[in-house]
C-alpha cells in the first residue's frame, strides 16, 4: 500500500522526521518496505496484512499513528451543494439480497462537468500510483485511497428505469466491464442491475454500459458494504482483482458508507455538482459493535510482562475502542466497526503488545520440565548412510519433488503417480515416483559443464497412490559415471563400474547392519539386459542396481554409461537392524586355507555365497573370493574361482588336522552341491 506523507497530513498533524515516522510505523507492525521522494512528497510502501483492511487507506494509517503518537485526528468538513430534489425521487434502489449486501447507500449528483482532474487531485493519484481518468472517476478513487471505502459512480442517464437493483446474476447473463472484458455470470454472483441488465459486478468492477464519460451530466454514487466471502468467490471465479474487491473481501467498515457518499458528493461540488437531498441508506439490520472481555491477568500470562491498567486503558482509548471497567482487573471493550480483525481476547492482547512495544517485553527461556525423546533411529541411520556415501565419493544433491510426464514415461512403473491440478510448469506436473529422473538430469547437467566423473546420491521422498491414499516413501538414489578420481601424475585412474557401485551398496548395508542383503540377477525395465541386480532384505524387495538403459539415457542427452541404483530405505529403516555387539579380539591365531576350484561358468556367485553362509561350518571366521579367471589353462565352459577360508577358535589354537578336516567338508559339499573340482589348495598359518 502506497502512502503519501502529504496526504496523511490531511488527517493528522505530523511533526516528526521521516526516519522517526518509519521507525514508529515499524514498531506497530506497519512495515515500510520502501520509501522514496516524489515531487517533494515522501511516499511510503507499507506492507499490510490480510486481517487489517482498515489500513488500506490513509485514514487508517493516520488512526494508528494518532494512537502511537498520542495525538488526535483532524476534524474534516465535507460541505455539500444541494438541490431540493429528493434522492429517492430520482432513483429507485432495491436490495434483493440483504445477506450479501447488508448496507447500500446512494446519492445523485447532478450537473457535474466531467473533464480532466485538477492538479491537486492528479498529484494525489500519482502518489499512490494511479492513472487519472476523469474528475468523477478520480474522485471515487481518491476517496478509496483516503478512507479504504470503495465507491462506484454510474452515469444516471444510462440506468434503465432509473433503477438500481442489487440482486443475484441470472443464469447465462453476460456483462462487459469498464475495461472491456466480457464476463459470463452465474447465479451465485451478485450484481448491481438496472431494470434490464447488470450495470456493475457488486464490489468488484463497474460496467461499460453505465460508465461515466465526458457526456455524463448526472451521476449516481454508490457507497455500500458487500459480503466479503461473496465478493471473494466471484472475483476468484472470474480471475479479477480490483482495488474495490481487495478491500471488500477483507472486510470494509460497515459504519462508513454514508460518510463516503457525502465525501464524494462534496468533492464533486468543485466541478459544479449538486447533490440530491436525503441520502438513500438501506441498512435494515444495523449491526452492534462487538463487545469483548479483557482480563488483566491474561495480559501478563500471555506476554510475560506486567502492563499497568492505566496503560492498557489508554491504548484502547487511543485506538477508538470503548473501555469500561466491569470489575477490578476486568474490562468490557467495545470494538470500533473498522477493526474487523478484533474478535477475541487474544486479539485485544495483541493490541496491548503492539502499543506497549514488543521491545519492552523481556526475554526469558522456557523452563525445561521434561526431556524430549532422543534422535530417532531414522535420523541416525541417515547420518551414517550419508557419511559412508561421502567416503565413496558420492556428492549429495537435492532435486524438486516433481517430475514431468516424459520422466514418467521413461521410468514407468506399476505405481500410480500423484498428478497435480495446478502445477507450476509441465516439467513439474507430477510428484516424483523415483529419484532417478532428477539424478540423471544432474549427471547430464554436470557432464555438459565439463565434469569428468559424476557420482551423486539423493535421499528424499517419492510419492504414489495406493488405494486412494497418497503414500510417501523415503528413497535413496545413486548414480555414477565416468572417472572416479582426478588425474594424478603417479598412477592410472579408474572409471566407475558395476562392481564399484555394488561394492558401495554392499558396504552400505553391511555397515548399517542390515545383513544378509540378497542380490539376484534379474531384468529391470530401466536397465540394460543382463546388467541389473534386484536387491532384497528378509525376502522383501529393496530396490535394484544396474546399468541405465541406453535409450533412457539418450532422452536425458547422455552418451555414456551411467550406473544407477535406487532403494526403499524407508522400508529398510522400519526394520530393526542386527544389534551391534562388541566382540573381544581373539588372541589365538587364525588358520588360513586357500583353495581354487574349476566351476561351471554359468553359476552365479551369489548362490555359492548363500550356500556357504548357510552351512554353519565351525570356527570359519570368514571366506573371500580373491581370484577369478578363465583362459587357455582352463577348460572351455569353466572358470577358476579361488577362495580364502579363515578359521579361528576363540579359546585355543586350532590344530592343522582339525582345519584339514573342515576344509575337507567344505570341498566335499561344494563338490556335491555345485560340482566344484579342486584345482589346488594351500596352507598359510598365521
Amino acid at each position: 500500500m502506497r502512502i503519501s506523507l502529504e496526504w496523511l497530513k490531511d488527517f493528522i498533524e505530523l511533526n516528526i522526521s521521516p526516519e522517526e515516522l518509519i521507525r514508529v510505523l515499524n514498531s506497530i507492525g506497519l512495515v515500510v518496505d520502501e520509501f522514496s521522494w516524489e515531487e517533494g512528497d515522501l511516499v511510503l510502501e507499507i506492507e499490510t496484512y490480510a486481517n487489517r483492511p482498515d489500513t488500506l487507506g490513509h485514514l487508517g494509517i493516520a488512526r494508528e499513528l494518532a494512537a502511537v503518537l498520542g495525538q488526535s485526528l483532524k476534524e474534516q468538513q465535507w460541505p455539500l451543494a444541494e438541490i431540493s430534489e429528493k434522492t429517492e425521487e430520482v432513483v429507485d434502489v432495491q436490495v434483493f439480497v440483504e445477506e450479501l449486501c447488508p448496507r447500500y447507500c446512494g446519492l445523485v449528483v447532478r450537473g457535474v462537468k466531467v473533464g480532466p482532474s485538477p492538479e491537486w487531485l492528479q498529484r494525489r493519484l500519482r502518489a499512490v500510483g494511479l492513472k487519472t481518468i476523469n474528475n468523477v472517476v478520480d474522485v471515487t478513487n481518491y476517496v478509496l485511497y483516503a478512507t479504504a471505502q470503495p465507491i462506484h459512480a454510474f452515469d444516471l442517464d444510462k440506468l434503465a428505469g432509473r433503477k438500481i437493483i442489487v440482486r443475484q446474476a441470472k443464469k447465462d447473463e453476460s456483462f462487459r466491464t469498464l475495461d472491456g472484458t466480457d464476463l459470463q455470470l452465474s447465479p451465485e454472483m451478485m450484481v448491481i442491475a438496472d431494470e434490464q441488465k447488470p450495470v456493475a459486478l457488486a464490489g468488484i468492477i463497474g460496467g461499460e454500459n453505465s460508465a461515466v464519460t465526458e457526456e455524463t451530466q448526472d451521476v449516481f454514487i454508490e457507497c455500500a458494504y458487500f459480503d466479503p466471502i461473496s465478493v471473494r468467490m466471484t472475483a476468484k471465479k472470474l480471475g479479477l482483482q480490483t482495488d474495490a474487491s481487495y478491500r471488500f473481501e477483507r472486510g470494509a467498515d460497515i459504519s462508513f458508507p454514508p460518510r463516503g457518499a457525502l465525501m464524494v458528493a462534496s468533492l464533486l461540488s468543485q466541478f459544479g455538482g449538486k447533490a440530491t437531498r436525503g441520502l438513500i441508506d438501506i441498512y435494515p439490520h444495523p449491526r452492534k459493535k462487538k463487545t469483548l472481555i479483557l482480563r488483566h491477568h491474561r495480559v501478563h500470562e500471555l506476554l510475560g510482562v506486567e502492563v499497568p491498567s492505566e496503560k492498557i486503558e489508554s491504548i484502547f482509548q487511543a485506538l477508538q475502542f470503548g473501555v469500561e471497567t466491569t470489575q477490578p482487573g476486568c474490562w468490557k471493550i467495545l470494538v470500533p466497526y473498522h477493526r474487523v480483525d478484533i474478535e477475541r481476547e487474544a486479539d485485544l492482547i495483541e493490541e496491548v503488545a503492539r502499543f506497549f512495544g514488543y521491545d519492552q517485553i523481556p526475554s526469558a527461556f522456557p523452563p525445561l520440565k521434561q526431556l524430549e525423546p532422543p534422535l530417532s533411529p531414522l535420523r541416525k541411520t541417515i547420518q551414517r548412510m550419508r557419511y559412508l556415501l561421502f567416503h565413496y565419493g558420492f556428492n549429495e544433491v537435492l532435486n524438486f519433488s516433481f517430475m514431468s510426464e516424459e520422466d514418467n514415461d521413461c521410468f514407468a512403473q506399476a505405481r500410480k503417480p500423484v498428478r497435480l491440478r495446478n502445477p507450476v510448469s509441465s516439467r513439474s506436473a507430477l510428484m516424483r515416483t523415483t529419484l532417478l529422473p532428477g539424478l540423471i538430469s544432474n549427471v547430464a547437467y554436470n557432464l555438459n559443464r565439463g565434469a569428468e566423473g559424476v557420482h551423486l546420491f539423493e535421499w528424499g521422498k517419492i510419492y504414489f497412490w495406493k488405494n486412494d491414499v497418497t503414500q510417501e516413501r523415503l528413497s535413496l538414489g545413486l548414480v555414477s559415471t565416468g572417472w572416479r578420481e582426478t588425474k594424478h601424475w603417479s598412477s592410472l585412474r579408474e572409471k566407475s563400474d558395476f562392481f564399484w557401485l555394488k561394492g558401495a551398496v554392499e558396504d552400505l548395508f553391511s555397515l548399517l547392519r542390515y545383513e544378509p542383503v540378497n542380490f539376484v540377477q534379474k531384468e529391470h525395465p530401466w536397465c540394460e539386459n543382463g546388467l541389473s541386480l534386484i536387491v532384497s532384505y528378509k525376502g522383501e524387495p529393496l530396490g535394484f542396481l544396474g546399468l541405465l538403459r541406453e535409450e533412457i539415457g539418450r532422452k536425458y542427452e547422455l552418451k555414456q554409461d551411467v550406473w544407477v541404483a535406487e532403494f526403499d530405505i524407508g522400508y529398510l529403516i522400519s526394520k530393526q537392524p542386527r544389534a551391534f555387539h562388541f566382540q573381544p579380539v581373539v588372541k589365538f591365531p587364525a588358520v588360513i586355507r586357500d583353495a581354487s576350484f574349476l566351476v561351471e561358468a554359468g553359476l552365479p556367485y551369489q548362490q555359492v555365497r548363500s550356500f556357504l553362509e548357510s552351512r554353519e561350518i565351525p570356527w570359519l571366521e570368514k571366506f573371500e573370493l580373491y581370484d577369478r579367471f578363465t583362459g587357455a589353462s582352463i577348460p572351455q565352459g569353466k572358470v577358476s574361482l579361488s577362495f580364502r577360508f579363515v578359521f579361528r577358535h576363540p579359546e585355543r589354537t586350532l590344530e592343522a588336522e582339525e582345519v584339514d578336516n573342515l576344509m575337507e567338508r567344505i570341498i566335499r559339499s561344494l563338490k556335491s552341491e555345485f560340482g566344484f573340482q579342486l584345482r589346488e589348495g594351500g596352507k598359510i598359518d598365521k
Binding site: 514498531s27 506497530i28 507492525g29 496484512y49 490480510a50 486481517n51 466471502i229 471473494r232 468467490m233 500470562e301 500471555l302 506476554l303 510475560g304 510482562v305 477475541r344 481476547e345 487474544a346 486479539d347 495483541e350 503488545a353 503492539r354 521491545d359 517485553i361 526475554s363 527461556f365 522456557p366 520440565k369 524430549e372 550419508r386 556415501l389 561421502f390 567416503h391 565413496y392 565419493g393 558420492f394 556428492n395 549429495e396 544433491v397 537435492l398 532435486n399 524438486f400 519433488s401 516433481f402 500423484v418 497435480l420 491440478r421 495446478n422 507450476v424 510448469s425 513439474s428 510428484m431 544432474n442 547437467y445 554436470n446 559424476v454 528424499g460 510419492y463 497418497t470 582426478t486 594424478h488
Partner: protein, 346 residues
C-alpha cells in the same frame, strides 16, 4: 702363481673403487657382469687361468679366487639392498610433486545448514518431528485458523492434487504442529524441518519448493517473553553473539500476537544506505513467530485457558542464501558440482 695373486689383489682394489661410484641399479648390474659375468667376467677369466697352474698350486689360488667371489657377491648384495631401501624412502624424484587425494563426496549445503539448525535446537531441549508433504486442506489451513474463503490464503499460493479437492502440497511446515499436538499432550518442545511447496514461478528469490523449519513450544505458563528468549538464543548461536535482534508486530492466522523477527544486517551493519542485502534498512527479516492462536489450541483439544505456546518458522534456503551471500536460490537445486563441492570446506 705370484702373477695371479697380484691380479686377485688388483681386481679387489678395482672392485672397491668401482662400487663406490655405483649410483643406480643399472650400474650395479653392469658391475656384476664385469666381475662375475659367466663368459667374460674377470673372475671367470681368473678361474680359466687356473689351468696354467700346477695341481698343487690350483687349490691355493682357487681358494683365494673363491674368497674374492664371495666378497664381491656380498658387497653387490649389500649395495643392492641399500639401494632398494633408499629407493623406498626417496624415489629419486621431486618430492614436491602433488600428493594423492581421496575424492571425498560433499554434503548438500541445505541439508548441512538444516543439521546446524537442528543441533542448536537439540541442545535447547527440542526434539525433531516430521510429517507428510502431501497434506489435507484441514491440516494445512483450516486447523491453523484459515477459514475456507479467507484472503489470508492468498499469501500461501497453493499447489493442489489432481482429482482431490481436499489434498494439496503443504505450503508450510505448520501442519505438523497440529499433528504433533493431536498426538501428544503438553509439554511440547519440537522443531519440524522439511520441504514445503508454493505455486511460484522460479526466479532468483522464489521457487516452487524450498525448505523450512518450524518450531512449537506448548506448556503451562508459556509467554511472549519465552518466545523472545528462545529465538534470541537461537539466532545468536546461528549467526553471532554480536547481532542485534528486533521483534515487530505482524500477522499470521495461526498466531496471536504475531511477530516478525529481524536481525541487524551482517553485511553492512546498517552503515550502507545502498546495501543490496538489507536495501539500506540495516535489518534482515529472518523469522515469523507468535503465540499459538487460542483457536488453534482449541482445534486440537488443548484448553487455551490452561496452556499457551509459541510457534515460529524460518526459511532454510533464504537464510542460507543470506549467510553465504548466494544471490540465486535456484543454484541450490541445479546441483552443479562446482557449486556443491565448495561446501566440503564449510
Amino acid at each position: 702363481m705370484e702373477e695371479l695373486r697380484e691380479k686377485i689383489k688388483q681386481y679387489r682394489l678395482k672392485f672397491d673403487e668401482a662400487i663406490k661410484n655405483v649410483k643406480t641399479p643399472q650400474e650395479l648390474q653392469e658391475l656384476r657382469v664385469q666381475f662375475l659375468g659367466r663368459k667374460r667376467g674377470y673372475l671367470t677369466k681368473l678361474i680359466e687361468s687356473l689351468r696354467d697352474l700346477s695341481p698343487q698350486q690350483r687349490p691355493l689360488i682357487g681358494k683365494e679366487i673363491n674368497e674374492l667371489k664371495n666378497y664381491i657377491t656380498a658387497r653387490l648384495e649389500e649395495t643392492a639392498q641399500s639401494m632398494t631401501a633408499v629407493a623406498k624412502r626417496l624415489p629419486g624424484i621431486d618430492i614436491t610433486l602433488p600428493g594423492k587425494t581421496l575424492p571425498l563426496g560433499a554434503p548438500h549445503p541445505i541439508i548441512k545448514f538444516q543439521e546446524e539448525i537442528e543441533n542448536i535446537f537439540y541442545q535447547m531441549g527440542f526434539s525433531i518431528e516430521d510429517g507428510p508433504e502431501i497434506e489435507t486442506d484441514y491440516y494445512n489451513f483450516e486447523a491453523l485458523n484459515f477459514p475456507p474463503h479467507h484472503p489470508a490464503r492468498d499469501d500461501w499460493d497453493t499447489i493442489y492434487v489432481e482429482g482431490r479437492d481436499d489434498l494439496l502440497l503443504r505450503t508450510h511446515t505448520s501442519p505438523v504442529q497440529i499433528r504433533a499436538m493431536e498426538k501428544k499432550k503438553p509439554p511440547i518442545r519440537i522443531i519440524i524441518p522439511g520441504r514445503v511447496f508454493r505455486k511460484e514461478t522460479p526466479d532468483p528469490t522464489h521457487l516452487p519448493m524450498f525448505f523450512q523449519v518450524e518450531g512449537l513450544v506448548v506448556d503451562v505458563g508459556i509467554t511472549f517473553a519465552h518466545l523472545k528468549g528462545t529465538l534470541e538464543s537461537f539466532l545468536r548461536r546461528l549467526f553471532s553473539e554480536r547481532i542485534k535482534i528486533r521483534f515487530r508486530p505482524s500477522f499470521f492466522p495461526f498466531t496471536e500476537p504475531s511477530a516478525e523477527v529481524d536481525i541487524s544486517c551482517t553485511v553492512c551493519h546498517g552503515e550502507d544506505s545502498d546495501c543490496r542485502v538489507c536495501r539500506g534498512s540495516g535489518w534482515i527479516e529472518i523469522l515469523g513467530a507468535g503465540m499459538v492462536d487460542p483457536q488453534v489450541l482449541k482445534n486440537v483439544n488443548i484448553d487455551p485457558e490452561k496452556y499457551s505456546g509459541f510457534a515460529f518458522g524460518m526459511g532454510i534456503d533464504r537464510t542460507a542464501m543470506f549467510i553465504y551471500q548466494i544471490t540465486d536460490m535456484r543454484s541450490f537445486y541445479e546441483n552443479d558440482l562446482r557449486f556443491l563441492r565448495q561446501f566440503l570446506k564449510q
